[in-house]
Symmetry: C2
Amino acid sequence: MAVAVSGNLRQDLHGRGQRLTPQRQRVLDLFERTGAGHHLSAEDVHQQLLRGDSRVSLATVYRTLRLLTTMDLLRELELPEGGKRFELATENDDDHHHLICVACGRTEEFESPEVLQAGASAAEQFGFKLLSPRLTVRGLCPSCAVLQGGEAN
Amino acid sequence: MAVAVSGNLRQDLHGRGQRLTPQRQRVLDLFERTGAGHHLSAEDVHQQLLRGDSRVSLATVYRTLRLLTTMDLLRELELPEGGKRFELATENDDDHHHLICVACGRTEEFESPEVLQAGASAAEQFGFKLLSPRLTVRGLCPSCAVLQGGEAN
DNA sequence: TTCGATGCAAACACTTTGCATTGGC
DNA sequence: GCCAATGCAAAGTGTTTGCATCGAA
């Protein structure tokens, strides 16, 4: 699970003239420990690190998240529900979509070749260069669906 | 183009015990005048109304956007690029997706039955009650693709 | 007339930034 | 030792809220 990406990180940072600081390692380590399917906000990262022995200032967390995102080690999710969230980037990222419960925020991931297809053809249609087709399906998870029953709002 | 929705609005508001105020009319009128495919932020709405003769406080714009969204007259987009955006809700909203240029923010819309399919089956798989599958494809529009050429970042 | 809606300004949540200090290379 | 990275606190965004006043029904 917790693959030692440190080697990659070291190389990636080095290759781009970036320094390998303990803070950066801690942040990336956290994402690796947490697993690929998790969506952490800057606050989450900050808190989790405090919980451990380590400590990284919130400002640095933000800076590091941006850096790692730029380097494609992390990926930013577009779930506007209260702040940006980040997750570990993986190889099959292009076909990795989210189902999000609008009531409780629970998220699930799924893959779908059709979506990949659809995104690609849409990009082609408008002459766009495709980066990442990302389907975000909004809905109600089983628990919340029961609570809210038939009535919306 | 600018269908007189005022009748519907009046009914909708009335039916839910809401008042039909000039401010609410102005906001909805703006969306109608602008057209269904446009994505306006609260700031946009505020400014555009100032440009006209009318004036609605920013706080009221926010309150109205939320109200109209709740009533399904508007729909909130999940394009986190600097603030929430809203657009006029239409019937075929469920099959209405966005292609967004990460460089300049230009957005295009497209439809795709496959996406609808994929969203529905994902929802089913996890026991979610589907609300709206919305594909957001991130990419580079023709102009920006030329500028940025091969090099990312 | 009544109670919800508005306007204003203060409060909020999240994110970025200036600057002195620290520390990776 | 140099220059990038950090920590802190202050400043920015975008959005919400408390409260007195206004006005739709």
